[in-house]
Amino acid sequence: MEILRAENISKSFAGVKVLDNVRLQVEGGSVHALMGENGAGKSTFMNILMGMFPPDEGSLYIRGKEVRFAGARDAIRHGLSMIHQELLVFPELTVAENILMRREPLARGGWISRSRLYGQAAELMKQLEITIPVHEKMKNLSIGAMQMVEIVKAVSNQASVFIMDEPTSAISQRETAILFRIIDALKQQGKAIIYISHKMDEIFRVADAVTVLRDGKYIATREKDALDMQELITLIVGRELGNLYRKEETHPGDVLLEVKGLHAAGARGVSFAVRKGEVMGIAGLMGSGRTSIAHAIAGMEKITSGELLLNGLPARIDSPGAAKKQGIGLVTEDRKQWGLIPEASVKHNMVLSSLKKHSRSMLLDPARENAVADREIERFRIRASSRNQAVKSLSGGNQQKVVLSGMHLNSPGLIILDEPTRGVDIGAKQEIYQYISSQAALGKAVILISSELPEILALSDRILVIREGRVKAELGREEASQELIMKYAMTHEPAN
Amino acid sequence: QGGGQTDGKLVIGASMLSLQSEFIVKVKDAMEAEASEQQVKLIVNDAQRAAVRQVQQVESFIAQGVDAIILNPCEMEASSPAVQKAKEAGIPIINVNSETSAEPDGFVGSRDEESAEIALEHIVNLLDGRGNIVVMHGYMGQAAQLKRAAATKTVLADHPGITILAEQTAEWDRAKAMSLMENWIQSYGSKINAVFAQNDEMGMGALQALEQAGLKEKVVVVSIDAIDDALRAVKEGRLDATVYQNADEQGRKAVQMAVDYIQKSDSAAGGSIYIPFQLVTRENVDHFLK
């Protein structure tokens, strides 16, 4: 049965048409996937459905009746609930307060009952088998955990349509499995789900139908039975895509970085070495300490003990500036917090960390900056109206590419990539993979952290598996497999 | 009473209107000089122009058990609770410089209206009773501004030949007065015959603006307070006149009265001492310049 239908939706920002006559129809008890490249207009479309802002044109029907939303409150009242791509959390409030915002249980006097608030939230967590303490302040959680809280918040709404805009971009397989269990349950209850993701395997796992957008236009809708991977990719990117994971041949050289007994906030005695010209993958579950290791090497986190050797010499890296000087570049997993100046333009974001290189002593060199920015926009195929567009108005995937190019412009010898394909579309992923393997072929050392095992497996020469801040295994390219990695990542050992 | 004595010395608490005002600082200096001659301990608090702070300071003095209080009121009415509190606590309180509506045990100072009367009369004389004047007010609503404004009205009522072209506040501030005068020159140009500024700071500002516009020769400027800068300007023939208020005598007499009051502890020691204002012109300015 049809629950929600959108027709002829159009929307422009500052004269640029972002959505052009798109449509969508979702049925109760099914999952409708929405796909498209970065910047295709998926999030804009969903935000319109959710009443976050009005469309320029078009109409919306719920169970056949036309509706108009004056705001998100209206949409919620009409039974919509959304997980936003951009995390929309209250960092200073607790997990429970975040989950039950606008649904706080009241005591008899009309005031908020704290005990019931925390009780209800804990109950929800238990039902969904998620172990995040409900008294914790939101800001103390990792992004993955925040994402889980957002999921709980959205799915615990009494809604009939659930919109999920890239809910899995920041979580690992274990959490994704939980989400899929939730989705199955919602389907059982006859709810409609709109699901956005760039991960093909997920789409084939959950979707009952797929609608594809390209350049703000409606392209096609396919039922599950008629779905074919190659065709879908072609619909999305508008062209044939070759082998996704093409890896150039690498010739590992001397050791560039050696880490000895590293202790930091989330790392407990980590040792490994990376050679020039190799890609070393780091795999692990959410919260296992991968980001801590990356941050410690890149000067973003205090090293409490242990030693770093660069080219065999002890290195003192106490700030990102110091790391940069010594040829270490990091692409952060949390671009909103650590990666971008939202108000600044694409160009300014790109050249920020390499500004010294691209200016004449203390003076800026605008012509050079422009040239560099245009070249990078070209290289990473960034979809922006111009190099001067504020980076915050780019789509998520394009923001990610800006972060990547900012790192690239410093041409570091050691590249650390923490979830570099978060929220990136399949075409762009291919480009990033090519970039990674070409950098290694050029003799750079690459550390690749990712929760997407296929990409780790395809691109890495060697894989470290991290659990609870420790290196649990080091697997060669040949021996590594998803099963083996998960075995090392998950096996529980008695704590020592 | 008397509990605040240290080494047997008498203790007097003083709450001053504002120690950022040049005139009040002079009064305070005189009080301190007198206090050290009389061998009494003087505690000086700065009320920073806020009546409520003044009330609080007097309450603190009462709590500390000082032997007498000297109040330099911020406001006529608003500082009155301070006087009442002291009297209820049986601690003698002397007002210095200006009055409150609640009657203190003694008063040393001047009638603020008088200063404006003297200044205005002088302007009227210089203009021969005919002409246009502009008036610069102090911070609106403060006692000094109100009294000087009231006196301006009463004096001018007797001189129908004088018209007020414009009046505006420059908040006692020289830079603001300069801007205001510049703007008035734009509006009224040579129609302005005289400026009355409620204090010397503003008078000096008006003077400088007029000089820069090349109009000083044609315009009379008179203000109040006799600060050093104004006295020098009078001597140089730039400022036409200022009005002198005797800070030294006010301060000294206030302390003397307080000490008398404590020692004789009877109301005969109180009463009111009015120290007259004096007009300062080029003729008598040397007498005031140190």
Partner: protein
């Protein structure tokens, strides 16, 4: 992310809650200890009462503006609102004209109206809070002068003057009012939905909107609470100085905001507590009182006061 994050003000402020409060609490305790050692009268019941009465006006204002700041706004108009509402109250408080309640109602309605206008200009008008309330600061001052014709409004009834000058069971009335406001405000902010929504709106306005929080209503209410409190402060002040003074309250907003910030509320919004604000108010009050008791020359008082405020904040973040 330990070290790095500790280097960042945002995080530091966030580190928030208890830790921060206790840091400032120790600073406060330290200052009280020093003062009670060097000044014999400091810890007397009488002096403590005096301090509390002294801080009550700033306290009421600071609590009011805490609501606005937590919701992500600012209010610069409150000093002028104190003057305006004080004048309004005084105009209705002449002996034998109207009942006491008329003066109180008129002043509080005037305050709420100004707060409502501030809130509407911020929400409907979409003008930055700083500009709106700066404009309102001069508007309300002008209104106070117009209403009073530039003169202090005097001759107020005894019942009115009792509010600021009287005592109940030995406790000055302003302290009672201040205490009641502390209790009511804590309750409002922590136990009611609208209170929690203030944290939400200040913490992440877009997220609040997306969650269906009535963002505009929450903001308007916060401004109305703030100006309403300013009206109460205006009444207490007018009553204490037995005058409706059109030039009262100049720069009060700065003292109030200072107390709020010293108390650990972030000007960025979303963080803060009434308890912290009260602590900030007391800290400033104790410094003012102590420096007066010590009879330090007023020039040096200012220097010392500034140093103590910064030093207290330093201790605060060390903890």
């Amino acid at each position: 992310m330990n070290q790095l994050i500790e280097n960042l003000p945002a995080k530091r402020i966030m580190n928030g809650g208890y830790l921060r409060k206790y840091g400032m609490l120790s600073a406060f305790a330290l200052i009280c200890l020093i003062l009670s050692l060097v000044t014999p009268n400091f810890f007397s019941l009488q002096n403590v009462t005096i301090i509390l009465r002294q801080v009550s006006i700033n306290g009421i204002l600071a609590i009011g503006v805490t609501f606005v700041i937590i919701s992500g706004g600012i209010d610069l108009s409150l000093g002028s609102v104190v003057a305006f509402t004080g004048v309004v109250a005084a105009l209705f408080a002449h002996p034998g004209e109207y009942p006491l309640i008329a003066a109180l109602t008129a002043a509080i309605l005037a305050g709420l109206a100004i707060g409502g206008l501030n809130g509407l200009a911020v929400t409907r008008g979409k003008v930055a809070p700083f500009i709106v309330t700066l404009g309102m600061m001069t508007i309300a001052r002008g209104l106070a002068l117009v209403a009073s014709e530039g003169r202090p409004v005097t001759n107020l009834s005894d019942s009115f003057n009792y509010i600021g000058g009287g005592s109940l069971l030995g406790v000055p009335v302003p302290i009672l009012i201040f205490s009641a406001i502390i209790l009511v405000s804590s309750f409002l902010l922590n136990k009611t939905r609208i209170g929690r929504y203030m944290y939400a709106v200040g913490g992440n306005e877009k997220a609040a909107y997306a969650s269906g929080v009535p963002v505009n209503t929450v903001k308007v209410v916060s401004y109305m609470i703030c100006s309403g409190m300013a009206a109460i402060a205006g009444i207490v002040l007018a009553s204490r100085i037995t005058t409706g003074q059109p030039n009262a309250g100049v720069a009060y907003e700065l003292d109030a905001i200072a107390a709020v910030v010293i108390g650990g509320t972030s000007l960025a919004g979303g963080i803060g507590s009434i308890g912290g604000t009260v602590l900030g108010v007391l800290l400033i009050g104790v410094i003012n009182n102590g420096l007066d008791l010590l009879n330090i020359s007023s020039y040096y008082q200012q220097i010392i006061k500034g140093v103590i405020i910064i030093a207290a904040a330093l201790i605060d973040r060390k903890k």
